[in-house]
Symmetry: D2
Subunit: 322 residues, 4 copies
């Protein structure tokens, strides 16, 4: 049994990680750190855990006692954590914030569909962003095949659930406003573009395609649904085959023959993809659960790979479906 510690235990990604870890057969949870909730049972804070665990939030984090540390705090807090704390030798770290997604300080970018072999050997993982996961999974096979349009446009609109905005309540997550509402935010400037472009340029170095990314707030709690269009020389059959082939060894990434919908992925660690061709344009749709494949599920998948476990351990989840 590997021993787990969690920093930033009161947020949404920590909650989802706990809902997963509790049923994972190869780990035990040593501490869940949250200074603001210290002493409180985690089931009082994290929906759905009542009756599943007696764990209590702690204001201590004894890094020496654990094998794997998950950093679930806000962006910027992970770097700060390592300024204030000494990392014991042998401790494996999975950071869910964006602090090390540039692979600085020895962190490996934890997108298994991109580099499972590097993850398997890593001590430190920078877990991808939620939009970044959906967009990269939509484009990896093309980039690998050097088929992104040189100089051209990659047009993406994607909707995210309210859990993507975090647990702290605000005007755009107020139920009265968000319910039945749709809006655009951070158009063309979303911070995940950095990690997406880094990956695509690594796979297809010459490409100067521009990703025109319009993120949208959806009126649902879980999920990302991304729509991508770009010029592509492949036929629909060729493109589908390219995607199928690329994701052959990816247990969670599924290419559908038929048009897809968001709830095919909700409450699973799956990414569901579908490819259509219309004229010159390739249309790629992608559905993930932002808290699972887009965050905590992928973090656990990375842990499994690092530990040499079957990638799906603890991640054979019943889809909520409805």
């Amino acid at each position: 049994m590997k021993k787990i510690g969690i920093i930033g235990g009161a947020g949404y990604t920590a909650g989802e990680l706990l809902r997963l870890l509790i049923n994972h057969p190869e780990v035990s949870i040593e501490f869940v750190h949250s200074s603001s909730n210290a002493g409180e049972p985690i089931a009082n804070v994290h929906e759905g855990l009542l009756g599943e665990t007696d764990l209590v939030f702690s204001d201590k984090h004894t890094l020496e006692d654990i094998d794997i540390l998950f950093l679930c705090s806000a962006h910027g807090q992970s770097k700060k954590f390592w300024e204030e704390n000494k990392r014991p030798e042998g401790l494996k770290v999975i950071d869910l914030a964006q602090d090390f997604r540039d692979e600085s300080e020895g962190y490996v970018y934890g997108l298994p569909e991109l580099q499972k072999d590097r993850i398997a050997c890593a001590d430190s993982i920078a877990n991808p962003g939620c939009f970044a996961t959906a967009l990269q999974l939509s484009l990896l096979p093309l980039a690998k095949a050097k088929l992104l349009p040189e100089d051209g446009d990659i047009n993406v609109t994607a909707l995210t659930g309210s859990t993507g905005a975090g647990v702290k309540p605000g005007a755009t997550t107020h139920f009265s406003w968000r319910n039945n509402n749709i809006s655009v935010y951070k158009a063309f400037t979303h911070q995940h573009l950095i990690e997406i472009n880094a990956t695509l340029k690594k796979l297809q170095p010459g490409n100067t395609a521009t990703i025109n990314f319009v993120p949208m707030r959806g009126d649902f709690a879980r999920g990302i649904f991304a729509v991508t269009t770009l010029d592509c020389p492949l036929s629909e059959e060729e493109a589908t085959a390219l995607y199928r082939n690329y994701y052959e060894q990816a247990p969670f990434t599924v290419v559908s023959d038929r048009p897809i919908d968001l709830k095919q992925a909700v409450n699973t660690n799956k990414a569901i993809l579908h490819v259509e061709k219309h004229g010159k344009k390739l249309l790629i749709t992608c559905a993930i659960d932002n808290l699972l494949k887009g965050a905590s599920g992928q973090a656990l998948q990375n842990m499994n790979i690092m530990l040499g476990l079957d990638e799906r351990t603890g991640l054979r989840l019943k889809p909520s479906a409805f």
Copy 2:
């Protein structure tokens, strides 16, 4: 044209009042006071008003220049307002908070279905609470007929929309939590029981019936749906006739022959009622829009009555229906 001032202009009830007043043919809005939003166009704060008005929030309230003042601040603020401000003679006041619902200081309880004549002569109106409106409309005809069960139980469960909780975001109005969720709060202790019981005891002085009121948070933004059961000697036909008769002069309160649903009332000033008899039990269902008949619509209805206008002026609203 009567001149209107609004205090507490940034909240939900003020927003709804503004959406109504803008199309009211007999009034003009002189000021909308909000110290925190002073200088900001009201359309930046109140959803749906873009292109309808150039009004700007003010940090001044010149009570001398207006005919009618709406107090839309939080509970307790209305009393405080009158401690700090002098009321000009001739100024009519409609208070949407609960500060004067006990009819203290000359305020008249503004439930037109109870006492339209008193409202017509009043200078100061205490506008009823949202749950209080739905529950009283469910029971007024029985209380008037002295048919509330002496010593018995009146069982009420009622769901409210998230706008009932106000504009300030919090844990139970976070979209991630509220979406698709149902919960109970303030069971048996909701503050609206005070005004409800006051009315019922006024109409049927001897009655000692207990209202067992279980309020629930619904996963919708607008509306209240109330389910009431109690022992009743009337047949279904007699009860329906009693309700029809009682509400004959009430232009917004409609008794339906058929089972009802919440959206029949949403975005209207109507209260929709339905009565069924099962064994000894009378079942009364009631649907209102908490921001309209449950707050700002009723406030405007009271204003119309006070000004001698047709009660429906400015309140012939298109239901949103969907």
Copy 3:
């Protein structure tokens, strides 16, 4: 008072039209035809009308007795109706189906922002489709200024509410499936592209821009939210000024300085537009209510124009906001 008849009275657009007409000061409703619902009160079928009207569905349509006929049946039924019925002289017709949107048989395409003068003189109006309205309003100013990209791409993704799919229940409007779900349908092939392209080519004859239109099913009942991106030589300020100028005489089409959201338009006849520039790309967002500006509201606006009334008569609607 003009006399109105409605064919196809049981559908969503007829319901919305009735909710509007009932409060319109210059018209009376003579008949609402529905063979399947003949004899039934319309308030039993159309949500929100209880207590507002005693109208009953009829299986007769006496065209001689009316001034204006609204055709609210399914696509294809309007042509069929005129094969089976004689049109009295002087009868004005507004068709909400797509049968005459090619302006065949003397019908004028009823987009006031495009050709209010032609509508004013018309006897027969082909009311635009809902997506077609949102997309044309997003592009009209550019097309008029001959600024659509020659040979280039116009990328559009747009979400529609479930009422766009009509009253007949089916798999993709089942609440269990649709709730919290997002999906793509008719990508690149939506039938509204025909009328959109016809308009754009009329305004900017040389242009061969391709509209890459990806329609999406949203998990809300009312509204369309459209996101358009295209290459544009104008700066953000120039583009905003172009849109403001173009829509100066359009009482319902509002250009916002700030990013918009869907509910700014819901339950109103407004179209809310916003323009941003990012690099070479112009981003245009547009929000309408699919049943109002996208259907019955625009039909009524067309009627007002035809009758020489103020365009906003009967259309000063309180936004639902929440």
Copy 4:
């Protein structure tokens, strides 16, 4: 490995059962019968299963080849099935319809919290209804302690999700209508009252308490939230202790110290209960997932018990939480 067959494979309960069985370590699925979908991959019909299984619907059901049969057809179809098919000796049957909930023909009523020992020995299980599960779990400890009010009232209002109405689309499951809507149906007459009363009278034979049950359609897809009030001599502490004690051996039924919400139970097989005392009244709230503890999860729990497995096998589900 036990071999499983499913009849009525295209409905919601069969879909949920399949989502569970696919990850159950001790069973294999031999056939999923659906005459209307024969030949179709089940992942095309049941949301969330893409990439999880290659199972295809069959029009054959070879009862000789299986150990356990789940009957997932509509009410009335189970009796009909046995009129038309011979039951092989040794075949265990779990019926999710209401056909044998009266324990006729040797069926045992499959509520583990009531009679786990009888279920363990049974060959035929009649799986309880969804409302029946929530209401019985709310009342079992009191009935066992003979504390239901003699001659008194048990007042219950409970909301159900749209999946409770089945996969066939209709007016009250149309998204346009159901979204943000609340309504009452089958007040005082719901068919589940039969099985509820049967259980309560078995545990507390003398009692003649009347259950005044008002079922409501909720605007969510999954879940039941039930509110029960009744006269009770116990204090809040005593009542809580009674419930805790009664459910000590029930791994899925959890008594909460704090007020509960529906989503604590969604996508789990848990029943979450909370007890409050106000004056003479005991308030019991209960949340379950109607498709899990209210149907297919409980069916699987019954199967586990029948097979002598740990009751939780295949049912340690990650809550969806949001």
